[in-house]
């Protein structure tokens, strides 16, 4: 086995953003909730729903994009449950978040065993994974090529999402209202802004982002579903959102750091002597 740590290896460079994307997307979702004044710790649960929905959709609709959409819908359904409990019932958000995580993890395992009749892992040749798209011109640049090019559409879309959330927050009325509700709900209420609507918007948008993150995991990084395959990324995403000060650019940098470190850990583990 190669015993040196070559950080310019194209395979390694390519793996970085593959690992960054699920964290980044979920962290963007967490960031939207944080800005609206919600501590959403159900990201993990949303993500696993996205993973499962992705596989479910891809298997039955015979299309990877269909899978991504089903993943997003399933994640948003769980987000809706969270929203109803949080907004309409005024439930304790941390406890509900934990409940949603438990619910989603268990339900996906339950469904895995009732729908696909397998335990642990589901993969099938009928499962359509997301295609790798090469960026023209950029792919031929050394170092930057393998780093930025050769990813699934979800990876590219996640970068667009960073820009979109930035525009949402700082250039639109809706974004201003989201921030207002998060910083001073009383004042926003006085101005006639519906806090419930803003909260629902943030929670559902977060569900969509996390669903996308999950679908990238189960259809982009690999093409299969594994029990509890979100593997704590939802929690890392929360930390990334906090570390990035709930600012799109900060969240992007924090997620990239976490993704880079985890791809590095795979690399180091692959070296002889560390097995």
């Amino acid at each position: 086995m190669d015993n040196t740590l070559n950080l310019l290896d194209p395979i390694f460079l390519n793996s970085i953003f593959r690992l960054v994307t699920p964290i980044l997307l979920a962290a963007l979702g967490g960031m939207v909730c944080t800005r609206a004044g919600i501590v959403n710790i159900a990201l993990e649960g949303h993500m696993i729903m996205g993973c499962f929905g992705g596989v479910l959709g891809s298997y039955y609709l015979k299309s990877a994009i269909g899978g991504v959409l089903v993943g997003m819908i399933m994640s948003m359904l769980v987000a809706l449950i969270y929203g109803i409990l949080r907004v309409n019932f005024g439930a304790e958000e941390v406890v509900v978040g934990l409940a949603v995580n438990l619910f989603s993890t268990s339900l996906t395992v339950f469904l895995l065993r009732t729908i696909f009749k397998v335990t642990g892992t589901f993969s099938s040749p009928d499962l359509k994974g997301l295609k790798i798209l090469e960026l023209p011109i950029i792919k031929d640049i050394p170092i930057i090529g393998p780093l930025l090019s050769g990813h699934t559409i979800v990876v590219y879309f996640s970068w667009i999402c960073v820009a979109l959330t930035y525009i949402l927050f700082f250039n639109t009325t809706l974004g201003l209202r989201i921030r207002g509700v998060g910083e001073n709900p009383e004042a926003s209420k006085t101005l006639g802004i519906s806090i419930s609507k803003i909260h629902y918007f943030a929670i559902l948008l977060c569900g969509a982002f996390c669903g996308l993150a999950g679908a990238q995991l189960s259809l982009g990084n690999v093409t299969m579903f594994v029990e509890e395959m979100s593997g704590g990324r939802g929690w890392i995403a929360i930390v990334a959102s906090l570390l990035g000060q709930a600012h799109p650019i900060g969240v992007f940098l924090a997620s990239t750091l976490f993704g880079f470190v985890s791809s590095l850990s795979f690399r180091i583990q692959g070296l002889a002597g560390f097995v």
Binding site: V39, L85, L98, F110, W235
Partner: protein
């Protein structure tokens, strides 16, 4: 009058959990129905798996499973009651378990001294681990639920590393520590079951905690801290000290439960032995369901253990995946949260109106 009022209090404090359990079972039934299972026979199988079996073997199994759940729920309740959301019971328990296992295997003393050392070592390590969360909260105002939750990960990884590398039992192929000496193994009370003498400590701890909460000064301080921290500070109580103390006790208790699992059940530490059954998470559910009441935890912990153990029985006889019991558990938490949230909302709107 007084009796009627206290009865009404009793029924109202039971109302939310009872509705939640019924609701959870109902939604679980609906999910089973949609998935093509027959809910009634499945629930009969679940009931049988929880309480039936030859010589009520399943009931004993449920009791054995409920022991760590109740113990950890008690640990969680102590901190919840005081308003400190320590949900790091899992990591604290794991560290207690591995510490006790290592001391039991390698300490060169006679059995009684080793046993005492192992328990003391475990509760010290677990308690101090919980203190990290308290320190982060006090020093940097990092929310306790985030720090204690995230501290579960390093604790688990570190314990797995210890069992995998320096303290691994190389004579077996498994990743596990060596077996603890026979003299330290807690004897089984009921033959042919896993029911060991250590389980009897759990109800004692529960009643002790209930007594402390109700009748002692420190218990009063903890309850008041849960209601209104500022009130205590104003009254001249050192809430920082109180937070450290509460977290230490809570963590130490979680560690003690880990010790019981090692000394009474597996006789060694295996990675995943405490985390795979989701003891700590079930315990958090039990604590929430019981509104952090120590005596209530006895019932809610037993109930959740019954649902889980029943789930295994149901899987054996009716092919319904046992994960349904976790789904039911999650729905139970959601309904309890909704009920308490609604109550709080009503109270605050009445104040405003």
């Amino acid at each position: 009058m007084k009796i009627r009022k206290s009865f009404r209090n009793l029924t109202s404090s039971f109302k939310a959990p009872v509705i939640a359990v019924i609701g959870g079972l109902l939604i679980g039934g609906i999910i089973m129905l949609i998935s093509g299972f027959e809910p009634f026979s499945s629930y009969r199988a679940l009931f049988d798996g929880a309480f039936g079996g030859k010589n009520s073997a399943n009931l004993v199994g449920t009791l054995v499973r409920s022991a760590p759940i109740i113990g950890l729920a008690l640990a969680a309740s102590i901190s919840f009651k005081a308003g400190f959301f320590n949900i790091g019971g899992e990591g604290q328990m794991v560290l207690g378990a591995i510490t006790a296992a290592i001391i039991a295997i390698y300490a060169p003393f006679s059995a009684p001294i080793t046993a005492v050392l192992a328990v003391l070592g475990a509760i010290t390590v677990s308690g101090c681990y919980a203190l990290i969360g308290a320190w982060l909260d006090i020093r940097f105002s990092i929310p306790l639920f985030i720090s204690t939750l995230l501290l579960n990960y390093p604790a688990n990884y570190f314990a797995t590393y210890l069992a995998n590398h320096p303290f691994r039992d190389l004579t077996t192929g498994e990743v596990q520590t060596q077996r603890i000496p026979a003299a330290l193994q807690i004897p089984k009370i009921i033959p042919k079951t896993q029911f060991h003498a250590g389980i009897l400590i759990i109800p004692i701890l529960v009643f002790l905690a209930a007594y402390i909460f109700k009748y002692t000064k420190i218990g009063y301080k903890l309850r008041m801290c849960g209601y209104n921290k500022n009130f205590l500070t104003y009254g001249g109580v050192n809430t920082v000290k109180l937070e450290y103390g509460t977290l230490f006790i809570s963590g130490a208790l979680a560690g003690l439960i880990g010790v019981l699992e090692v000394f009474g059940m597996r006789y060694r530490y295996l990675p995943g032995m405490l985390t795979t059954p989701l003891y700590a998470w079930t315990a958090v559910t039990a604590a929430i369901l019981a509104n952090s009441n120590p005596i209530g935890v006895l019932f809610s912990g037993f109930l959740l253990a019954a649902i889980q153990n029943g789930g295994y029985g149901m899987e054996r006889t009716s092919e319904v995946p046992r994960e349904i019991s976790r789904v039911i558990q999650a729905v139970i938490i959601m309904i309890v949260c909704a009920a308490t949230g609604l109550k709080r909302k009503n109270v605050s709107s009445r104040k405003e109106g």
